[in-house]
């Protein structure tokens, strides 16, 4: 359940960012979770809901956008989105190994929504 410490990391970044919006309230956070990031969306949401109430971000919503995997074939360079994360045959040359991951590994805070109403 490392999602708990991941939410702690998110809170650390939010505290830094919110300094810029002195006195305003955090309404929503949008997070991008790549399918290869090793982070379970449901567990993250659960950890968020467990840690947020009563704190400075009480009531803030967490939206998680799951990012599909996109790779470039290691043999022929074809860019494709594999069906499975475990086995990724290239649709053009059928190579299985050595693909370069272009998208799907990221775990990013993408944007926040702040409200000037206290």
């Amino acid at each position: 359940m490392h999602e708990m410490s991941i939410v702690e990391s998110i809170l650390g970044i939010l505290r830094e960012e919110m300094v810029k919006y002195d006195g305003q309230k955090l309404k929503k956070v949008t997070l991008k979770n790549g399918r290869l990031a090793g982070v379970v969306t449901e567990s993250l949401q659960f950890a968020w809901e467990a840690l947020i109430p009563g704190g400075e971000f009480d009531g803030a919503e967490l939206e998680i956008i799951e990012v599909p995997v996109k790779v470039a074939c290691g043999e022929c360079g074809e860019v494709f989105s594999p069906e499975h994360t475990r086995c990724m045959p290239c649709p053009k040359c059928e190579a299985l190994l050595g693909h370069k991951v272009l998208e799907g590994k990221e775990l990013l805070i993408d944007s926040i929504e702040v409200d000037d109403q206290q």
Partner: protein
């Protein structure tokens, strides 16, 4: 009124920043740092006991021990004469760079050649958090089943070495060495696979040679 602001910041950036700092420190001091990961009971501590004893005259080594509770493992490691520091995660499922940084304060790094970080036994979470290591080393014992690389892909994808431990038990368990190796190589074509027994000492020379090589590369 509310407004949306684009931020785009990596969630694990704080950990990665500390990991970079640790790595820089290890580079300057020429310390080889290894992050040792496995499920509970795969034999990390036994491997360390053996390694620390066998290479005692060759290298100055230290261990940072991660555990949910108790300092049993740190005591076993310290009995070999190596420096050992315990981190209790109090239920936490992995170590992070901040914990390693704190633990390092209790270690005399002067003239240290190799630092082992024995992560919490768990094939999932430790893979996500760098601890300033040069390489990740994963142990898989043959009692656990040859499908583990397939079931826990990320761990094997990012490891430089897969040690297949407890090969002395092969006559008693259904474990296909080739199958485990093939799965691991499918995930990571560069992974080095070494079948060993930390208990009997079988094939440990291959592991020691790897340590010697990687240590020499840091000089």
């Amino acid at each position: 009124m509310s407004k949306e602001v684009t931020i785009v910041r990596n969630v694990l950036e704080a950990n990665d920043r500390l990991a970079d700092e640790l790595q820089k420190n290890f580079r300057v001091k020429k310390i080889l740092c290894l992050n040792l990961m496995s499920s509970p009971g795969a034999g990390k501590t036994t491997l360390l006991e053996r390694t620390l004893s066998d290479l005692r005259d060759e290298f100055k080594m230290a261990v940072i021990e991660g555990d949910l509770q108790t300092d049993n493992d740190a005591q076993r490691v310290a009995a070999t004469g190596a420096q050992a520091v315990q981190i209790n995660t109090e239920g936490g499922c992995h170590l992070d760079s901040g914990m390693v940084m704190d633990a390092l304060k209790a270690i005399d790094t002067e003239g240290l050649d190799i630092l082992f970080v024995e992560n919490v036994g768990n094939l999932v979470c430790p893979a996500e958090f760098n601890v300033g290591e040069d390489y990740k080393v994963t142990l898989l014992s043959v009692a656990e089943g040859d499908d583990k690389p397939e079931k826990y892909p990320f761990m094997f994808h990012i490891s430089a070495v897969m040690l297949l431990n407890k090969v002395d038990l092969l006559p008693y368990v259904d474990f296909d060495l080739k199958k485990a190796e093939n799965h691991a190589k499918k995930l990571n074509k560069d992974i080095e696979v070494m079948p060993i027994s930390a208990r009997t000492g079988e094939n440990l020379e291959q592991w020691y040679d790897w340590l010697r090589k990687k240590r020499a590369e840091k000089l």
